[in-house]
Amino acid sequence: MRDEPDFEDFYAAVFDQLVGQLFLVTGNLQDAEDAVQEALTRAALRWPRLRRYRAPEAWVRRVAMNLASDGFRRFRRRLAVAVRLRADLESRQAAPLEVPGLMDALRALPVAQRKVVVLHHLLDLPVEEVAAELGVPVGTVKSRLARARGALAARLTPGAGVEQPRHAGAQGPRVQEGPHAQEGAGNHG
């Protein structure tokens, strides 16, 4: 394959970074790696075209995000033959250290909400681009963000649900009232 050296550089540059992002979505390192691996395999097939993209990693991330759905475990079973070649790696793989509280809070969200949190809050994509990347209406992205933020606030804010059982999010974002906002902000110009 003529483009292989080029693809090798690309693979080396993006694999770890994308696995990190996908881990936040899947909550499981193995699933994250498999999603990224499958997406990169598809990228290799299209590399002569993809390499001309301004950000080919965005294409790979989109494919990996699509794969990282609730049905991904079923998909992985279909890939069993391909996955087998890395069985020896899995056996000595260490799980990543988890930022206290964060992964529990993320795992309590539906996968669709985790995706918008990662794309909007980690990668700083505007909601329109998140919508385009996920192929859903902008309104759906906003709703998922609102709900995810509500649930995360409930779990990540001290005394507001972090110690609750798994469905504490159902009680809403019991976030604390902050100092009073400025009142009477009119400023005639």
Binding site: E33, R86, A94, T140
Partner: protein, 471 residues
């Protein structure tokens, strides 16, 4: 138990980045060589399949050709012959008045009479509702509403606000004085409401993870908050954002799935406006979750609405029986006029026969960055799409003009002989007749569609400022 550090939503990004970095360090892939081997093997299989597929395609080409529609060329962009628009400064600014909405824009900024009402605190610990004089920007009143405050409905001299999980609070519009509170259950959050006559109709959902409790629709006396009726809908669903449509003695509300597999399908429900009794429900053919902010549109005895599965549906307003559907893409409804339902569907404005769903005309208006909106303005359809404001004849679909204003934020608003549109970096006024840009604001970051009232055009920006412009 690990020590729980003080956490706020403000440091969410830092925590996500730290966690992603940690996972990236632990990542161990099979390596590029194995990836390329898999790709080569898959390519061989694909090539074999394509030979067979090519033969099938040749046979099918004749059939495809017959389905090609008489599609007009995209509305041609006029070359900018006019001088650059005048840049104007706001007449007033109010800082800290609004916050970036992650709920639909119409929940966070409303204009009523000579007031603009805005909420702050979305995604934050506190939420306020504030009212300003639209003409001068003078502060009028404030209400401490609670986390993720938003405006549920306005009408009957009242503004009804709520934190994300209730209660509903009725405020006197003129003074901000709290007149009533209507408590909701734990985890129950109101959606947008509609005031019709002296009644507030509002749906509520239980949106939190793992909660499949059914939505509840309430009818409340808007002056007192007293409940007139409540109706429980289907478990495993949440209501759409758009407020109920109240027409012909019916209240129409649409739902979507709470999460994947939580209910068999989503529905449009028709409730008796006087009693809340369910008259019918129509299957929306949407087995996945999807939210949109379009109201159903009632015309000529039919109800038209988009569905989360990307379908435009027409159902009988008296029975809920499906009359026709178009599943060619996600529709943004502009309205109904002269027997045509006009919608923006994947970059095309389409005029559907209102009775049959047949396409009478379609005109490409472009896709790309920015939100897509379509509004009916008399005999003209205005679409914000593809980074431009496009005007099309509602009867024929013929392109009238195109103004490359930039990607829209919120819907275009028509007032007098002008169209106002917020874009990602300015507010623009376009002359409806000559399509020229009359003025533009200096650089700012709008987060809502503009509202026009009391001789002012008001927009909220990302940094939480309200700006009032002369029209």
């Amino acid at each position: 138990m690990p020590r729980r550090e003080r956490a706020t939503m403000a440091d969410l990004r830092e925590r996500l980045a730290a966690q992603a970095e940690e996972a990236a360090r632990a990542a161990r892939g099979p390596g590029v060589a194995a990836t390329l081997r898999r790709a080569r093997a898959r390519r061989r299989r694909l090539l074999g399949g394509r030979v067979a597929l090519s033969l099938l395609l040749v046979a099918g080409l004749a059939g495809l050709t017959s389905r090609l529609l008489d599609e007009r060329e995209p509305a041609s962009p006029p070359q900018p012959t006019a001088p650059l628009p005048r840049q104007i400064a706001p007449l007033w600014t109010a800082r800290g008045a609004a916050s970036e909405p992650l709920a639909p824009q119409d929940r966070t900024l409303r204009a009523v009479g000579d007031l603009v009402v805005a909420t702050t605190g979305f995604g934050g610990p506190s939420g306020r509702t504030r009212a300003y004089d639209a003409r001068t920007g003078a502060f009028r009143w404030l209400h401490r509403t609670g986390p993720n405050a938003f405006i549920t409905a306005v009408g009957g001299g009242m503004v009804v606000v709520a934190p994300q999980y209730g209660p509903l609070v009725g405020l006197e519009l003129a003074t901000g004085r709290e007149r009533w509170r209507f408590p909701l259950a734990e985890g129950q959050g109101p959606e947008s409401g509609t005031v019709a006559g002296d009644t507030l109709y509002v749906g509520t959902s239980f949106p939190a993870e793992g909660n499949d409790d059914p939505p509840v629709v309430y009818a409340l006396d808007v002056a007192t908050g007293r409940q007139r009726w409540r109706t429980v809908l289907d478990p495993g669903t949440d209501l759409q954002w758009a407020g109920p449509v109240v027409d012909g003695g019916q209240v129409l509300v649409a739902d979507t799935l709470s999460h994947e597999g939580s209910a068999p399908a989503s529905h449009l429900h028709a409730l008796d406006a006087a009693t809340g009794r369910r008259r019918w429900r129509a299957d929306l053919h949407a087995p996945t979750q999807g939210f949109f902010n379009d109201h159903p549109v009632l015309a000529g005895g039919l109800v038209y609405l988009p569905t989360a599965s990307g379908m435009l549906l027409a159902v009988d307003a008296r029975s809920g029986r499906e009359v026709w559907r178009d599943d060619s893409g996600f529709p943004v409804l502009a309205g109904v006029r002269d027997g045509l339902v006009i919608a923006l569907v994947d970059g095309r404005l389409v005029g559907f026969d209102a009775a049959t769903g047949a396409r009478r005309w379609q005109t490409g208006v472009g896709t790309g960055a920015g939100e897509q909106w379509a509004v009916l303005d008399g005999d003209t359809v205005l679409a914000a799409a593809g980074g431009a404001l496009v005007a099309v004849d509602a009867a024929s679909g013929a392109a009238r003009w195109r103004a490359p204003v930039g990607p829209a934020v919120g819907q275009p608003v028509v007032a007098g002989d002008r169209v106002y549109v917020a874009t990602r970096d300015r507010l623009v006024a376009v002359d409806r007749g000559s399509r020229s840009e009359l003025w533009a604001s200096s650089r700012l970051r709008p987060v809502t569609a503009p509202v026009v009232t009391a001789g002012r055009v008001v927009v909220a920006t990302r940094d939480g400022t309200l700006l009032g412009f002369a029209p």
